[in-house]
């Protein structure tokens, strides 16, 4: 399973998960032309995308024009709330595939499970299994905390939100203070990771770092220290460090 980041921050999110046969886009928060140009740098065309997976309807995850274009050639997989939003903001006939938390779906050589997260709109996290290798990816973006106990489930790759850290909270303008309650603070991310069975985990990717209120060095070091796993930060304009 190959993971790429096209964008990751409070302004836009877009990630590519691919194996030898199929390509998934997760989140489509970039405008269409930036999506195209960043895909091109990975040698991927829009038409190569087999499905688009969206976590929730906010604009940094679900940009109407981009979703509309991708939906011309491949299905958009998301929860009911996102689908209702797309149908009303784009058109009634947009090609969608509703995913439910009780039932996994298969798309090509990927199998996807969904679970609910705690954001200010209905948001899903996903487990994406590459059926060619049996590797599993845990994908958790915007949420205040992760209430699930994943038991002994193993994940080979983990992509998880790490939005802000309390050391920088004083910089948050008062009117934005409440918004921190919809995103994971470094402590919440670490607590969630430590609850997981990390035996088989190769890499941890931190996503959705806030522009002004996150210290990426600190986050990377702290997560690495807590988990003992190679940790990367998904960058605002694509790529990792």
């Amino acid at each position: 399973m190959e993971i790429s980041c096209l964008a990751s921050s409070s302004s836009a999110n877009c990630y590519i998960i691919k194996n030898k046969q199929h390509t998934l886009m997760v989140e489509a928060g970039l405008d269409l032309s930036t999506t195209k140009s960043r895909l091109a740098s990975l040698n991927i065309k829009l038409s190569d995308i087999d499905a688009l997976l969206i976590t929730h309807r906010h604009g940094d995850h679900c940009k109407s024009k981009t979703v509309e274009r991708i939906a011309l050639t491949s299905p958009v997989i998301a929860n009911q709330d996102v689908i209702n939003f797309l149908k009303s903001s784009i058109n009634e006939n947009i090609k969608t595939w509703q995913i439910r938390t009780e039932k996994p779906i298969e798309i090509g050589t990927f199998k996807i499970w969904a679970f609910e997260l705690n954001h200010d709109v209905p948001a899903y996290g996903y487990i994406i299994k590459d059926l060619t290798t049996s590797d599993k990816l845990l994908f958790i973006n915007d949420t205040e905390f992760v209430r699930w106990d994943f038991k002994d489930m193993i994940f080979h790759e983990i992509m998880i939100e790490c939005n802000h850290n309390y050391e920088l909270i004083n910089k948050i303008e008062p009117y934005r203070a409440r918004s921190i309650k919809s995103h994971m603070e470094l402590g919440a991310t670490i607590k969630t990771l430590k609850n997981l069975n990390l035996r088989a985990t190769n890499n941890i990717y931190l996503m959705h770092l806030s522009d002004g209120y996150s210290d990426q060095e600190l986050m990377m070091t702290e997560v690495q220290k807590a988990t003992g796993k190679p940790t990367y930060v998904c960058l605002k304009n694509g790529g990792f460090i």
């Binding site: 009780e102 039932k103 209430r147």
Partner: protein, 297 residues
């Protein structure tokens, strides 16, 4: 003296809940009236207002689009209704509305509601008023005999209103024979909105909200310095504070508590999870003597 009883109701069907809530609110109001702490206007009917509120509540949803009657704790619904009744207000007259924060329902007094409620506070004469200042208006500021800022002259014209750029607002009220004034620039008004829990921008109805804000500032200044035991004044301040965050550390503490209480607490209800479980998991936990395999890596 300030202690308010919390109202609770048993779980029952909707119609019964309405009746129980209405009775509870009515009884509590009667108690307060008998104690001499509350003086409701003669033409105000608690029953009618609660009925109107109930109709509105049936169509009110929280930010997740869940009906508030489902998502909010009954005690909070009862208290929101009680606050509305103590203030002598009716949501059908747009004197306020209900807002849910998590599972807590609250009462939010509108500009009209504020005007109506204030007119019942001791010492107030005449309805309080708020006026918008448009770009281009000529304002002459001065000080009254007590050194308080006041508007000496305000010239405006239709063109200024038509352009619609609000640059400030002022509120006036006649209190114990004196005119009291509060003047705020639009910048100050917007700053106070940044504390709002629900709507820090007020992009819609900006003018109405600006009027509400300046009037609220004036009333707070007067009410907070009054020594009277005035239940209406108290409730006005209390219900207002429910809608604004004045301390960031509250939010941080709430968030920390949420994470602590909720992380990893619910078993993931997946089908077909078994084949995806760690095949080595059992071994891993049984290896008490030997170091687990992954530790050696």
């Amino acid at each position: 003296m300030k202690e308010e009883k919390t109202l609770t109701t048993p779980k029952t069907t909707t119609a019964l809940v309405e009746k129980t809530l209405a009775d509870n609110v009515q009884n509590r109001v009667n108690e307060l009236v008998q104690q001499g702490r509350l003086n409701l206007p003669k033409d105000y009917s608690v029953g009618n207002s609660v009925s109107s509120a109930w109709l509105i509540l049936q169509n009110t949803v929280d930010k997740n689009k869940v009906p508030v009657l489902k998502s909010c704790a009954q005690a909070s619904i009862a208290n929101a209704l009680l606050n509305m009744a103590i203030l002598g207000l009716n949501p059908a007259k747009q004197q306020g509305y209900f807002i849910a924060y998590g599972n807590q329902l609250t009462w939010f007094t509108s500009y009209f509601g504020m005007q109506a409620a204030v007119s019942r506070i001791k010492g107030y004469e005449d309805l309080p008023r708020a006026t918008l200042i448009y770009d281009g208006d000529v304002i002459e500021l001065g000080h009254d005999e007590f050194g308080e800022e006041c508007i000496v002259k305000h010239d405006t014209c239709w063109e200024n209103k038509l352009k619609g750029v609000i640059v400030g607002a002022y509120a006036t009220i006649k209190f114990n024979k004196h005119i009291r004034t509060q003047v705020m620039t639009m910048k100050e008004i917007r700053e106070s909105w940044t504390m709002s829990k629900t709507n820090p921008n007020h992009k819609e109805f900006t003018g109405e909200f600006a009027k509400r804000t300046v009037l609220n500032r004036l009333l707070k200044n007067i009410l907070k310095t009054s020594t009277d035991d005035d239940l209406v004044a108290e409730k006005m301040i209390e219900t207002e504070n429910e809608h604004y965050d004045f301390d960031k550390s509250n939010v941080v503490n709430e968030a920390k508590q949420d994470v602590e209480e909720n992380t990893g607490k619910v078993e993931l209800p997946f089908e077909e999870t078994e084949q995806d479980l760690d095949p080595q998991a059992e071994n891993l936990f049984n290896q008490t003597e030997e170091e687990p395999a992954f530790m050696k890596e």
